[in-house]
Point group: D2
Chain length 350, copies 4
């Protein structure tokens, strides 16, 4: 069985994470090239994994190396162009979240993949985390009854890069940090979001020297679903204390908790005035190690079997729409229906 | 040391709970009379605890028996009149939550106690729960830094009585079930609430035969505090699965979780396809056994030492104001500032 | 209802703990006198609780004050004489563990109580801890099937007093620290112990300046029950890290865990390199607060209703027999059957 | 990088588990042949994984296929001959636990590998489990001080095959189920075992139709280490309720718990009379998924880098010696020193 050849686009944290999965744990795939315009970052990642070929641009890689698929891990504002280029070149596309900046960009990516007949998978790795997978199946099977309320949180330890919190170059924290929450609540509730209301707060910006307009490091989102169910999402970044991703769902028959603060089951007490100490997940690669492996494994198997991945461009587009509604909400201090975003001209133009 | 003599007003679930605390665990107090207009309920409670005197009304009790204090556990709409009567009669008042239906009623109760020179304590027992007490002290001491986000939830197992979910006779679930959340978030965050936004949903009303207008069994509240911090409160009642009261606070330095789903530490596994089974708190008396004992103990000691209780009428009034803002929010589908409630004519008139 | 009048014998840690329960949480009893030969210790405890009468000896108290019962909390080597004196004086006896130094002493105490027609209860408070009580009932009900293996541990934070680890004045750590384990395993397994084997180790004695012969701070006990079931007990004292008392039982149908390391449910994380911090039980009064209250409450109710307490002298005697077997085992480096202890002349003579 | 070619010897549960790891998660290795004398079992495993070559004996495989290493997963009584054959044929040997039936067999395997200059690794996968690895490093770093007491347990869900509980063909449960405990306690304590005492019990044998002499399904082992530390090991098999492997270590400075009963963090409550339900590890492949992957990955990297694996034949031999002492203990009802086993003629001859 010949491994699927992959060109990794982006040599930063996420590019390294996917490289780690593929080089160490996915016999069905092989990374044949690395693309990154930043020479130092690219060189470091090449050396860490032993990449045999590397390039400053996807164009160069496409010309020089033979591969079947790309894994795109670059900043969001580059997604549309890179994904469309890869698709047009006949490469299957694994695209990190957030899918793109706006719905028009999402539509262009989806169209490019469809026209080229290549697969498109969005990097919602929680859909492949064993705990989330089991939870979704149990909700689907009716174990807790019709879902009534969902709460999802993502708190990340460190300050994201400047572009990620600037609403001029990104959709900000609700997109860069909370993308997975938007996707998960829709997936787990089996319903699209109908209305959002968002409160944000900036606690650490000043001390961290962040002067970006509209910067916030805390957000609390209220959700109403088309099903009539309710929900909330919280985002805190940087939170400092670890990587925290948990979900709680209350259904007509009961409650389900997915994930927990505690990481590794090695518990120590050496000071009775302090108490028990349990490791926490320090980073997202620790928390979602299996999710990252399995989503790429799923992508590779989908290519091999020529079937659509289970997480599609349409899923990525829904998350983008929710973020756009959420940003409108906190900027205008009012609840915003997704219908408003989905049907406004901007949704078509850009 | 002569015990403080108490007249228990209300022989229902809460009246029985306070009776249980006083008869079994508070040597410093003695219940000398029970008041309830419902003969069957009163008789049952008299027999359960061995009350030596019982009456259909507080007036009768005041005439017949000598006591220093009342514990009022009747429906909210009776609070103003009973508390004012007790105060005017020179009795110290322990008054269950919600304090009253509106701010004017709260003001009348506070004024009555002040004029009579009697103590007034509101039944926010979470302020006396050992876990909440320890948590509050640790937040106050700066252990997690300035609080940025708080989440508080109260999910109750069973359907409340009809009057409690009817906005004509009560402020509904957000008052009857979530009173403690409103008080706790303000206490733990060290800040008043500035703005609320509420989504509600009715999932089980139809099957339970509840036809009350505006009935809901699920609520998700967004909070903004005067400090700039954010928060959320959720209410689910009836939730069926147990009594669930938990709080999570994220501060600039870290996260704190107060309370947990698991109750008694007796864990059993007899079926590997099912897994570990851990008891849950079934009811609020189980969850807050110590809180109930300690709040009455505090009341009794405050009387003995003639000093103001730590939970006052002002605290009860803030919780009522927040509920009024919350109800306005879901009825008018918009965020509502507490200032709007505190300054509107209704706040003065009724 | 007149409270039962109690004379507290012993003003040290355990005497203060029982005083705390009675003064604060047991309306059905009242402490009318405190006895302790140590003037400083007695004076401190008198002041802490407001004892109205206090004496250097039980004899003096018997002469001066009227009471119905004693709670004896003095060192083990005083138990026989004090318990017998109280019984002969017609006082009901609550006697702390270990019951006595030898089986003959136990027999003398039991006989004294029987002849005087007074009640005798041994201070095995775990039998009144809500978790242990629930667990015992569930085992009894067959939830985990016939019990096959039990593991019980007691690790205490600090070094016991010198007399308690000296085999000349006490039966040592296996008696003073692990008494509760011996009683609990017998109770929970529904079977007497048949054979024990003990390994001991001395890790901290030298650094703590303990030069007592046979001193050990770690013990691991193997158990065989008459039912054919197995078990182990571990004792570590001083362990430093907290007060740790847990039991695990494996039955034919499954496993049960009783108790846990974690104490109060207030969990904090402020450092992702350290992890979550959960309070631990620091001391036995924290861990068994309810057990201490309920065992005295049970004693008081037994007196009021003139019926035998559920924990009797026979139970205390079994624990003493097991300790004697255990000490023989580690001294002679061999498994020892309880039959050997129960039937040897020493068991009758001393 | 050419993958290391492996011949899998044994197509049963353990052979399938290692096949799963290698085929799905270890790009550095490839399974080129499967050996098993049982046609049906072999055929099923061939089909499950797509093995390209398969044989009834290792001899046939050696003749027909080119490979660098074997992974031996057959019953213990076949280990010596298969491992020696592979070594003599110049193949690196990964050998499942228990290493062999006696010390002489162990010595023969070690000698064969040494003479052939091939690597020999024993299948103690807990040494590669992330939790055990982290725990060992933290103990080694002195976090809990000098280890004083260790408790290790392995409870397995189902009845082992007949040969495994027959002392004529195996060393029984203490070898087949508890091998990992023997290895782990020695590894984590940093000390060899000095003395063991064992109690065993047979609870379910009759109902399961097991009539083998000396059959037992429960064992409790007392340990004394050369360092002076103490310990215990418990084995229950079949326990029914899941796969349970946990360790607790008390050191001079504190306590450490490794592993937990709870598996996946998906917690559900749908019945307040039952309580919270948390998944448990159902099987050893679930519990030690990463351990199985990492031990083979370590073996493959050791081959590639021509360096000795971290778990050696000497480690396997120590575990066998401990089991022999333990079996002597329960058969002769006395404590047995390891020195007795290591120096007796049988240790050399067979």
């Amino acid at each position: 069985m010949t491994p699927i050849r992959i060109c990794m686009v982006g040599a930063g944290r996420v590019g390294r994470q996917h490289s780690r999965s593929i080089f160490n744990h996915i016999p069905g795939a092989v990374c044949v090239a690395l693309v990154d315009p930043n020479d130092a970052v690219r060189k470091a990642t090449v050396e860490e994994f032993g990449y045999e070929a590397n390039f400053r641009s996807l164009d160069e890689a496409l010309e020089a190396v033979n591969f079947e698929a790309v894994v795109i891990t670059t900043p969001t504002f580059t997604h549309r162009d890179l994904a469309a280029l890869a698709a047009r070149s006949g490469k299957h596309v694994f695209l990190e979240k957030p899918m793109a900046l706006g719905l028009a960009e999402c539509d262009q990516i989806i169209a490019a993949a469809e026209q080229a007949g290549v697969l498109l998978q969005i990097g919602f790795m929680r859909r492949f985390d064993p705990e989330f997978v089991a939870a979704a199946a149990r909700i689907e099977a009716g174990e807790i009854g019709r879902p009534m309320v969902i709460k999802s949180l993502t708190h990340g330890p460190g300050l994201p890069p400047a572009w990620a919190s600037d609403l001029k170059t990104s959709n900000g924290m609700l997109a860069e940090v909370n993308s997975h929450d938007w996707d998960c609540v829709r997936w787990l509730m089996g319903s699209n979001i109908d209305r959002v209301y968002v409160e944000v707060a900036n606690f650490k910006g000043a001390e961290l020297g962040v002067t970006t307009e509209h910067f916030f490091d805390n957000a609390v989102v209220s959700l109403r679903f088309e099903s009539g169910a309710l929900g909330s999402i919280s985002g805190v970044c940087p939170c400092g204390y670890g990587y925290d991703a948990r979900v709680e769902v209350v259904g007509e028959k009961g409650i389900m908790q997915i994930g927990e603060l505690a990481g590794q089951a090695v518990v120590v007490c050496t000071d009775r005035d302090q108490g028990l100490v349990t490791p926490i997940y320090r980073t997202w690669p620790e928390r979602f190690a299996w999710g990252y492996i399995r989503e790429i494994d799923h992508f590779v198997r989908s290519i091999r079997e020529t079937k659509a991945p289970s997480v599609t461009g349409a899923d990525g587009r829904w998350a983008v729409a929710a973020v756009l509604a959420a940003n409108t909400s906190f900027l205008e201090e009012r609840p915003v229906r997704l219908a408003e975003i989905l049907h406004r001209p901007a949704a078509r133009g850009g």
